[in-house]
Subunit: 424 residues, 2 copies
C-alpha cells in the first residue's frame, strides 16, 4: 500500500549557472569568450562552426549560444535560423557577436531569431549584462516548464490511480454478453471519466427466471463509484445471506421485495446522503412474463421485433436510499417472443450535443425501433457509436456516466404485442 508522494515544491531554477556554447571559427576568439564566461561561473563548451554547433546541440543541453556572425560555411545567422526551426526543441537564447552594428544588420539578426547582440571586440562587462538579461528570461521559462512537469506528474499520478480504480470497477461488470437460447442480454457501460456511479447486471435468479438491474448513484465521481460498488456487492447473487439470496428463498420472490430490502440496507449502512435510482426486474424465460420495479429511474422501453416501441412503468416509485418505509411496487408485463426491454441511465437521454441539445427519449426510441431486428449485441455496439457521435465524437468527454442494458425474450410462437402493463 505504499506510493511515491508527489512534491509540488517551488519551481524556479536559481543556480545562476548557464550552459553556454561559444561558436566561432577562430580558436583565439573562442578561447577569450570561453574564459570570460567561465569566470562568470557558467559552464562553457565550444564549437568551431555552425554545423558543429548544430550537431552537438542534438545531444548536449545548451541554454544560451554566443555565436560569431561571420563564419565559414554555416554562419551565425543560418545557425540561429536552424535552431529556431527545430520542432519541439527547448528555447535557446541566442546572442550574435559581430563587428557589424548597423541598424539593418540588427534587424536582419532579429528577424533570424537572435535575442541579442554583442559588439566585437567583446567587452566583458557588456557580455556579463547581456547574459544576465538572457538568464532572467531563461529562468522564467525554466520555472514555468518545471512547474508544468510537476503538475503533469501530479496529475498523471492521481489519474493513474483513478484509472486503476476504473479498471477494477470494470473488472466487476458482467460478461460482455449473455445468450442461453432463451434470453439474450447485452449492455453498454461508459464512465464519464474514470469511474462510474452507474452499474448493471443480469444473472440467473432461479430455474425459470433471470434477474437484471440498472442503477445510477446520485452525484458523480469517485464517491459515487464507491457507493455503486458497495451496492453491486449488496446485490451480488453469489452472496449467501445477501439481498438476492434472501429473495430467492422467499416464497413469493418479487423485484419489489428486493428493492425494499436494498432501500432498508442503504439506510442501515448510513452511507451519507447517497441514494440511487434503479430498475430491478425478473423475467420468466418460459413465457416472457416480466415483473419490474422502477425506482426514480428513467423510463424503460419495450421494443417489439417489428420496431414498435412502448414506454413501460410510467408510474414509478421513489429512489432508493432516501426514505424509510417506502413501498415499492412490481409492474407486470409480458414480452412477446423477440421483444426486448431497454433500461438506461439519464446519462443517455441527457447527453448533450455541441449545441447543448439533449439526446432525449424520442431519439432513443427511434434508434431502438430502427435497430429492433439487429442482434442485441450489435444494437448496443451501434448505440455506443451513435451516442458518442452525438456527444461530439470519440474524443469528446461525456458529462455523465452512461449505461444501458437490453434484455431480449427469445421465446417461440407468435404473440406480437406487449400483453399487459399493470401495477401490482
Amino acid at each position: 500500500m505504499e506510493h511515491q508522494p508527489v512534491t509540488l515544491t517551488p519551481p524556479l531554477r536559481r543556480a545562476g549557472t548557464l550552459r553556454v556554447m561559444v561558436v566561432d571559427d577562430q580558436p583565439m576568439q573562442r578561447l577569450v569568450v570561453h574564459r570570460a564566461l567561465t569566470r562568470l561561473g557558467h559552464q562553457v563548451c565550444e564549437a568551431a562552426s555552425g554545423e558543429e554547433a548544430l550537431a552537438r546541440m542534438e545531444h548536449e543541453a545548451v541554454d544560451l549560444v554566443v555565436s560569431d556572425w561571420i563564419m565559414q560555411g554555416m554562419d551565425g545567422l543560418a545557425l540561429c535560423r536552424a535552431l529556431r526551426a527545430r520542432p519541439g526543441a527547448r528555447y535557446v537564447y541566442f546572442i550574435l557577436m559581430s563587428s557589424r552594428d548597423k541598424r539593418e544588420d540588427m534587424i536582419e539578426g532579429l528577424a533570424a531569431g537572435a535575442d541579442d547582440f554583442l559588439r566585437k571586440p567583446v567587452d566583458f562587462d557588456e557580455l556579463a549584462v547581456r547574459l544576465h538579461a538572457g538568464q532572467r528570461l531563461l529562468e522564467l521559462q525554466a520555472g514555468l516548464e518545471e512547474r508544468n512537469r510537476e503538475l503533469q506528474a501530479a496529475y498523471q499520478q492521481i489519474q493513474r490511480d483513478v484509472d486503476a480504480a476504473g479498471a477494477f470497477q470494470k473488472s466487476l461488470l458482467p460478461q460482455e454478453t449473455f445468450d442461453d437460447g432463451r434470453t439474450r442480454f447485452a449492455w453498454l457501460f461508459l464512465p464519464s471519466r474514470f469511474v462510474s456511479g452507474d452499474a448493471l447486471n443480469c444473472f440467473g435468479f432461479d430455474a425459470q427466471r433471470v434477474a437484471f438491474y440498472n442503477f445510477d448513484v446520485a452525484g458523480h465521481g469517485v464517491a459515487s463509484a464507491m457507493v455503486a460498488m458497495i451496492v453491486t456487492q449488496m446485490l451480488s447473487p453469489q452472496f449467501s445471506g445477501g439481498i438476492v439470496q434472501a429473495a430467492r428463498s422467499a416464497s413469493a420472490a418479487s423485484p419489489a421485495a428486493v428493492v425494499q430490502s436494498l432501500n432498508a440496507r442503504l439506510l442501515e449502512a448510513g452511507i451519507g446522503t447517497s441514494y440511487l435510482t434503479c430498475v430491478f426486474g425478473l423475467l420468466d424465460q418460459r413465457n416472457g412474463s416480466l415483473r419490474l420495479v422502477r425506482a426514480g429511474h428513467t423510463l424503460p422501453v419495450v421494443v417489439l421485433p417489428d420496431g414498435r416501441v412502448h414506454e413501460v412503468a410510467e408510474d414509478g416509485d421513489l429512489p432508493v436510499g432516501l426514505f424509510d418505509d417506502v413501498a415499492y411496487h412490481d409492474i407486470e408485463l409480458t414480452l412477446p417472443p423477440g421483444a426486448r426491454l431497454c433500461c438506461y441511465t439519464d446519462g443517455v437521454t441527457e447527453c448533450e450535443d455541441l449545441q447543448g441539445e439533449p439526446y432525449g427519449l424520442e431519439r432513443l426510441k427511434t434508434f431502438l425501433s430502427r435497430t429492433a431486428a439487429c442482434p442485441a449485441q450489435d444494437t448496443v455496439r451501434e448505440f455506443e457509436a451513435e451516442i458518442r457521435r452525438w456527444a461530439g465524437g470519440d474524443s469528446a468527454e461525456l458529462r455523465d456516466d452512461i449505461s444501458m442494458l437490453l434484455i431480449e425474450h427469445v421465446g417461440a410462437g407468435a404473440a406480437s404485442t406487449v400483453v399487459e402493463v399493470t401495477r401490482a
Copy 2:
C-alpha cells in the same frame, strides 16, 4: 452525476496582438510610436510619465512597454526597475527608447531589467522587428502559463473529486471514541493521500462482548479504498444476513468463523486480485477474555497499566481473500483490568523518517509503554503527533495509510499480567 469536462487543448496564444504601453512625456513622440504600433496590429495605450505608467499597470494588462529613457520625474530606467520589483507580477517585456546608444548606457539599461533598446528617432522597421522578438518570448511564456493553468485546473478537479471520496470514506468511520465504562476504544485513521485502503471498527457484538477489527487492503489508492469500503459493508454489524449477524446467531461465535466467512465472501465476490490483512477480535467485557484472529496483519501488542508490553498472536494465519479453504484460528488471551490491546497497520511500523529509517515495532512499543497510563484517546492523539513528527512534520505526505486502534479492558480487581496466550 454530471460534471464539467476539463479540456487540455493546445495552449499557445497565437493572436499576434500585443497590448503595448507607450511611455513618453512628449505627446508628439507618443503619437508617432502609437500610430506605428497600431499599424502593426497591436493594442496600444499611452502614459505621459513613468509614474502614470506604473499606476495604470496596476489595473491594465500590458504585455510590452516601449518607454522613453529621459523623462521628467520617474525616468525609463526607474520605471523598468519599479516594474521588475513588483512581486508576483507577470513578466512585462521592456524596450527602452533612447538617443543614447553608448555601450555604458546599454549596460545600465540591461542592468535595470530592460529587454531591448530602440534608438531615437524610432525606425519603424526596427520597431517591428524588436516587437517581434519580444512577442516570441512573451508567447512562449504565455503558452507555458496557459498550460500551467490548464494542468492546475485538471489536477484540482480530479483532486476535489477524490477528496470528496475521502470525506465520504471518513464519514463511514466509527464514532471518534467509545467508552461504556467497561471497554474503552480509541482509534487513529490517516490516509496517505485522499482515500485509504485501511479500515477499522469496534461495536457491540452481544450482551457481553465487543467486536473490533483493523484491516489493510493490499495495494493503495482509490481501488484499494473501494475494496476497503466494500469489506467494511460486508462486516457491517447492522447488516441482517451479513457475516457479523450470521456469527452472532451461531452457537459458538468466534473470530475465526467471521474471518473464514469473510475469506469465502471475498473470493465469491471475485474482486480481482485484492486481498487484505486483518485482525478481528471479540473481547468479553466481564472478564477481559479475548479471542482474536491475526490474518497476515502486523503484530498486535498488549500494554499493561504499568507500561509492560507483550506482543501477541505471533503465530498468525494467512491474509484474507487469497486462498480457498484456509483455516483461521482464534488466539485466546485475557486482558487484566486496565490493559489495552493495540492493533495497527504496517503504515505505522514502516513509516520512514527523512533519512529513510522505518519507525519500527520497538519504537511503537516504547511509545505505548510510555503512554500506558494516559487515557486511550490521549494516547492515540499523541501518537498522531509522534508519527507525523517522525515522517517529517505536519506537511510531510505519508507514503502509506496509517491506522491504529486501542481497545482497553477497564474491568475491576487486581490481576496485572496477561493471563494466557494460546492458539485455539
